[in-house]
């Protein structure tokens, strides 16, 4: 605004026909600045002059004098100065004036503009701002204005002249090109990846087709039926349900919290023991079942019956109701037996026996036995019933009295018994109570006690489980076994008090379970196959124990394995060192050769012993270039050249090559090559052909010679007369056309190329899946599918993770490859096999 005012002021004195005045943004008139356009634009922003004016307006009284003075000055000097200024301007542009193009107007104005600044006396010099500001020196805001002006002056910049159009365009283009390059370069990793990819399946951006996963199903599942709803509630609401971010369920965690580590360990041990016993028992049962002796079984049965009888009697005393139940069961059994006519001699077996009974003593006996049995069965029931009823009558009253007392006891007993059976669920309480008693005992003792207790429990439980089939003997035996074990353990414990309990336990159990151990071991080694075998060979009960045992055993195995393979022989020296150890018998022969090859000093010693010398007659005249190069170190030392003991050196060489009778070897080799190159006679004689044949018939040697095809005389060899070379002449001309002459591009060495040829691709040598993999085409396209250009939106989509992969490609090309493969790989049908 100011600027326009000023320019207006100027324009009514001068007409600007030329732009020159504005060049550089300053209006320069005869070396005098009327106004600085750059400044004035700055003024528009900060406007110190405006504030200056305002101040002037605000304080008319104070500054009146100064202003008046200036007015006066203007009034007096204005005329002359103005004229001189005009002259100066007109002199600048004479041409235009002469041409009459410039129209000048000068109008005296009444109001004196504050911008009508004259240079005063010092004509020809610039008007500085500080001169203007000088009048404000006494005002309040002077300092503020000063700082503002200073700031403004600091910022003062002059606009540069615009560039010529072509130049400007060139700059614009180069900048745009730079930006383009940068933008396009984001494709570099993708292009590289695609070029190197083992397989590309087009179109690249395929929609992944997949079946809904269980996870996704679970997320969207809503229970509709009652049953589903119930199950859903159980699965989601209850504390037994699995939780997403936790490994254990709430209930499991609670159980864990209730159990300390020691307890858990001891419980585990206990369980192991239980399982061991169980398996042991099962094995035993199996063995006993196989026993064919009738007598044994009879005795066994009798004892069992006896035991049952006793047990019932016992039960009768303690718990008559239960006894009653048992009796009822027995009755039912009897009834069934009677109904089934099992012992009535009506069966197939019985009839066959009847037939045989006439002649066979045994058969007769068997039949009678059975008859007796049936009679016994029918009679026995009555007797038993009578007994039980009479007894019941007698004891009824007593029992009623006892019952009350017993019931109280029973409750107590039950809890205790329960604890005994399952000491772990309520272990915290019990341990506390027990620990009171056993605080004095050392740890091992405690352990023993515990184990003893457990053994008892084991017995009890096993007794319980074993029903009719289980004989008394078993239990006894088992007890014995367990006691033996525990005795052993005790002994051990006493022996190794210092060692950790756990390890001992394991060791003991591993001893006990020797049989299982082996299977476990095998299983670990062989893997799945043996697992199946183990399943077949052993009953289900034993599986767990074998597992455990296997685990236990594996520690030992590992240790031994470690001993065997602790040292890794990486370098040649290490291997040699290992070979030197005397205990490796198998390697001794190799060792010798290795020693020979690698350890020249040893070789030397041996050779010295042998005292072999080079035959001086056998030699070639060969330039000794290689030998010299091999012994250069001596020659570096100038002074010592004379000192070198040439004899010594010669001896050294002699020693080094003592055994290499190179010359004779070469001669022999050449002779062989010549021999092999000679054409051979072909013997076409067939015994018996045109002659009598058979054993002892000799063919006529004359006839024989007739059938021998004589070879033509050998062609002269190329190396004939050349003693130091063997020229191989048996190259195969027809093969040559099939052989690759030069190493193809892309292969580092001949060996590499040969390797690539040697590896077969076909299904005669590879499995179907391998063949499918080896022969997969580099580019796969489907007929009838439009392949669209790769799209930036898809490739650089955020959040897909593709981008992330791509960033890492420069470092890890393989990863990229894999990624690409996974993206567009088709399924191999042959992979089924």
């Amino acid at each position: 605004m100011k600027m326009t005012a000023q320019s207006a002021y100027i324009s009514f004195k001068v007409s600007f026909s030329d732009e020159k005045f504005f060049v550089g943004g300053e209006v320069l008139l005869n070396g005098r600045t009327f106004c600085d356009i750059g400044q004035s634009s700055a003024i528009m922003a900060d406007d110190p002059v405006r504030t200056l004016l305002q101040m002037n307006a605000d304080q008319p009284e104070e500054d009146d004098s100064a202003l008046a003075l200036s007015d006066d000055e203007v009034g007096s000097d204005n005329e002359g100065q103005h004229r001189s200024l005009l002259d100066a301007i007109t002199s600048l542009d004479k041409k235009s004036r002469i041409k009459g193009k410039v129209i000048q107007r000068s109008e005296p104005s009444l109001q004196v503009s504050p911008f009508d600044i004259s240079s005063g006396d010092n004509g020809g010099s610039r008007v500085h701002l500080n001169e203007l500001v000088g009048s404000l020196r006494n005002t309040n805001q002077f300092s503020k204005v000063k700082t503002q002006i200073r700031k403004m002056q600091g910022r003062q910049k002059v606009m540069e002249a615009p560039l010529v159009k072509p130049q400007a365009q060139r700059i614009e283009r180069s900048l745009a090109y730079k930006a383009t390059k940068k933008e396009v370069s984001r494709w570099t990793p993708i292009v590289r990846q695609n070029r190197q990819a083992a397989q590309l399946v087009f179109p690249l951006q395929q929609e992944p087709v997949s079946l809904p996963t269980t996870d996704s199903m679970v997320k969207t599942f809503k229970p509709s039926t009652d049953l589903e709803r119930e199950i859903f509630e159980v699965l989601h609401g209850s504390k037994f349900a699995e939780r997403r971010d936790h490994e254990l369920t709430e209930a499991e965690e609670e159980a864990l919290r209730a159990m300390s580590l020691d307890e858990a360990l001891s419980r585990r041990k206990e369980l192991q023991k239980m399982r061991a016993l169980q398996s042991y028992h099962a094995a035993k049962c199996a063995r006993e079942k196989k026993i064919k002796s009738k007598k044994y079984h009879r005795v066994k049965k009798r004892s069992r019956l006896h035991a049952e009888k006793l047990a019932i009697e016992e039960l009768h005393k303690t718990n008559p109701e239960l006894a009653q139940e048992e009796i009822r069961k027995a009755e039912k059994l009897h009834a069934e037996e009677r109904a089934s006519l099992r012992h009535k001699n009506t069966g197939k077996w019985a009839r066959s026996k009847m037939v045989m009974a006439k002649f066979d003593e045994e058969a007769r006996q068997a039949i009678s036995e059975q008859l007796h049995k049936s009679r016994e069965l029918t009679n026995q029931i009555r007797a038993l019933q009578q007994d039980s009823s009479s007894e019941e009558d007698q004891e009824e009253e007593e029992e009623e009295e006892k019952e009350e007392e017993e019931s109280e006891e029973a409750v107590a007993m039950e809890t205790v018994a329960d604890d005994d059976k399952n000491p772990w669920m309520k272990s915290a309480l019990k341990v506390n109570s027990k620990s009171d008693q056993k605080t004095d005992l050392p740890v091992e003792e405690k352990e023993q006690i515990k184990t003893d207790e457990k053994e008892k429990q084991v017995e009890e439980t096993s007794e319980k489980k074993v029903t009719e089939e289980q004989p008394q003997i078993d239990n006894k035996e088992e007890q014995e076994v367990v006691t033996v074990v525990s005795k052993k353990k005790r002994k051990r414990n006493k022996k190794k008090k210092g060692e950790g309990n756990e390890a001992e336990e394991k060791a003991d159990w591993s001893e006990v379970l020797k049989g299982e151990k082996k299977t476990g071991k095998k299983r670990k080694r062989r893997g799945k196959k043996t697992e199946v075998e183990a399943k077949k060979s052993r009953p289900d009960v034993m599986e767990r124990s074998t597992d455990e045992a296997g685990e236990v055993q594996d520690f030992d195995d590992d240790e031994t394995m470690l001993e065997e393979g602790l040292e890794r022989r990486k370098t040649l020296e290490e291997v040699e060192a290992a070979a030197k150890t005397p205990d490796t018998k198998t390697n001794s022969a190799q060792q010798l050769t290795a020693d020979k090859a690698t350890n020249p000093s040893l070789q030397k010693q041996r050779d010295i012993v042998k005292e072999v010398h080079i035959n001086p007659d056998k030699f070639f005249t060969i330039k000794p270039s290689k030998l010299r190069s091999s012994a250069p170190t001596y020659l570096d030392v100038d002074d010592n050249i004379d000192m070198i003991d040439f004899d010594q050196q010669r001896e050294n060489i002699e020693e080094a090559f003592a055994n290499d009778d190179v010359v004779s070897e070469f001669v022999e080799e050449k002779r062989k090559a010549e021999e092999a190159g000679k054409p051979k006679d072909i013997d076409l004689f067939m015994p018996g052909w045109g002659n009598w044949g058979g054993v002892g018939v000799k063919a006529n040697p004359k006839k024989r010679t007739r059938f021998i095809k004589r070879a033509p005389p050998p062609k002269p060899r190329q190396d004939w007369g050349l003693h130091h070379v063997i020229i191989n002449e048996d190259k195969d001309e027809p093969m040559k056309t099939h052989q690759v002459r030069h190493l193809p591009k892309g292969f580092g060495s001949v060996a590499e190329f040969e390797r690539s040829i040697r590896a077969p691709l076909g299904k005669d040598w590879n499995t179907p899946s391998a063949v499918a993999k080896l022969t997969e085409p580099k580019v796969v396209t489907r007929a009838g599918t439009i392949i669209e250009p790769i799209s930036g939106e898809e490739t650089f989509k955020k959040g897909t993770g593709k981008n992330m992969d791509l960033e890492g490609i420069d470092e890890d090309k393989e990863g990229g490859k894999k990624d690409r493969r996974n993206r567009g790989r088709r399924n191999n049908k042959n992979d089924k096999k």
Partner: protein, 445 residues
């Protein structure tokens, strides 16, 4: 008496169900399958021979134009649709599956210079020597109705090339300037010019969609950004480039078909020299198109042949020709990567297979696997002289053969001369230039 009978248990060899894989008991013991390399070599040799035997690339011809086919356009959404424009201003729309002409439009007076289908597949644009840009609907008019363009834009100058933006409703034409047009306007949105008066070809980049490239009569290739107001860069080659094509899989790669019988592949980030020179044609290359996989491209030439070049190779892998095919004016690679379409001077549009020996139609899994095995074998033994000899052998027309020999002799003599010059001048005074470095005359900012 003991009788021995041949018997076998069907469990050992029979499938349980029909859908099962045939049981094929195998023993992979390498000692039972000796001479693997030799056997595979024989197989490779046989496969190569068979490939040559079965190499019958010509599928069919579309006959119907009354003048030479000057330009073609693929339909971006339909594989069976092809548009061809002839030198008499006639446009034909073909169905490739049935190989018949669906529509014939007398679109322009004079040549049809270029065509392109809009990305929404509803219309196509054509330009002709009559200084018009016409937009036509792809749906044919009802019976009795005449073919009328949807729009017609009258230009001030002749248009020589047209290409459509890959997504937006804008297209570019070239003539005296490169103009960017909008569907809704009759005036160009923007015009680019850089000191040239005639441009032959303009193409949008299919990946970075706002970039353009054009070839000009002053032997230059010019790059543009439609977002900016000025071109990006100009490269001047030894001779004029006829056509430019962008790689659809690599955003910064384009190839130009040049008058000097070669094709040059450039990286737009480094325009000082092409990264590959593709030689084999013996006359000016008139058109080229990339395969949709971006690994290969096909070129048609004035020497009456079509050649297929791998992008990373300097020589063609295939040459197609027939006795009757004249100068190939336009060529396209179908969008499913299976076929090549060529339009030539003698009014025919021909359909070729992209792989000469490929079997058309569905392959059984066994065929497929044996095919891929054979391909791998050929690749494995490609360096063996016999295999190479057979695989490389092609029959070419007599002129082409002689011209090839002639160009070889010329090239050899040039090389010899250069070598001699180097030999007989002061060492280091003449720098040996690589072939690639000789291509670009100047790169202008």
């Amino acid at each position: 008496m003991k009788i021995k009978v041949l018997s076998r248990n069907p469990d050992d060899y029979a499938r349980e169900t029909k859908r099962d894989i045939q049981r094929l008991p195998r023993n992979y013991d390498p000692s039972l399958h000796p001479f693997e390399a030799a056997r595979e070599y024989t197989r490779a040799l046989n496969a190569t021979k068979l490939e040559r035997v079965f190499a019958k690339p010509f599928v069919g011809a579309l006959d119907g134009h009354r003048d030479g086919v000057n330009c073609m356009a693929k339909h971006p959404g339909s594989l069976s649709t092809l548009l061809t424009g002839a030198c008499d201003g006639e446009i034909k729309i073909w169905n490739l599956a049935s190989r018949d002409c669906r529509r014939t439009i007398q679109a322009h007076t004079g040549f049809v210079r270029g065509m392109c289908v809009t990305p929404d597949h509803s219309n196509f644009l054509s330009i002709g020597d009559d200084k018009t840009v016409k937009m036509w609907s792809l749906t044919s008019p009802d019976d009795g109705e005449e073919e009328e363009p949807v729009h017609t834009i009258l230009g001030k100058n002749i248009f020589t090339g047209i290409d459509h933006h890959w997504k937006d409703p804008t297209f570019a034409t070239c003539g005296q300037t490169v103009d960017i047009w909008d569907h809704a306007r009759a005036e160009p949105l923007r015009s680019f010019s850089w000191g040239v008066d005639s441009l032959n070809c303009v193409r949008f980049n299919p990946i970075e969609k706002h970039y353009l490239a054009s070839c000009a009569a002053d032997r230059s290739i010019i790059l543009y950004d439609t977002r900016g107001s000025s071109p990006l860069r100009k490269v001047i080659l030894n001779m004029r480039s006829n056509v430019i094509a962008w790689n659809p899989m690599e955003a910064f790669v384009f190839t130009v078909a040049n008058e000097d019988h070669n094709l040059y592949s450039f990286d737009i980030r480094r325009l000082t020299s092409p990264f590959n020179i593709h030689m084999d044609h013996v006359n000016a290359v008139l058109d080229l198109d990339y395969s949709p996989t971006g690994r290969e491209f096909v070129s048609g030439s004035f020497d009456k042949t079509i050649r297929i070049f791998p992008l990373d190779k300097g020589r063609s892998r295939e040459v197609y020709h027939t006795k009757r095919m004249q100068r190939v004016f336009c060529i396209k690679w179908s969008l499913d990567n299976k076929y090549i379409l060529s339009g030539s001077d003698e009014t025919n549009v021909r359909i070729w297979k992209a792989k000469a020996a490929e079997k058309i139609g569905k392959l059984t899994p066994r065929e497929e696997s044996s095919q891929s095995y054979n391909d791998k074998l050929k690749e494995k033994f490609q360096h063996h002289p016999q295999v190479r000899r057979i695989a490389r052998h092609r029959h070419v027309p007599k002129e082409v053969y002689h011209l090839t020999r002639q160009t070889r002799i010329m090239k050899d003599s040039k090389r010899r001369k250069e070598q001699n010059r180097i030999r007989h001048s002061k060492p280091g005074s003449i720098k040996k230039k690589r072939e690639r470095e000789k291509v670009v005359v100047a790169e202008q900012e």
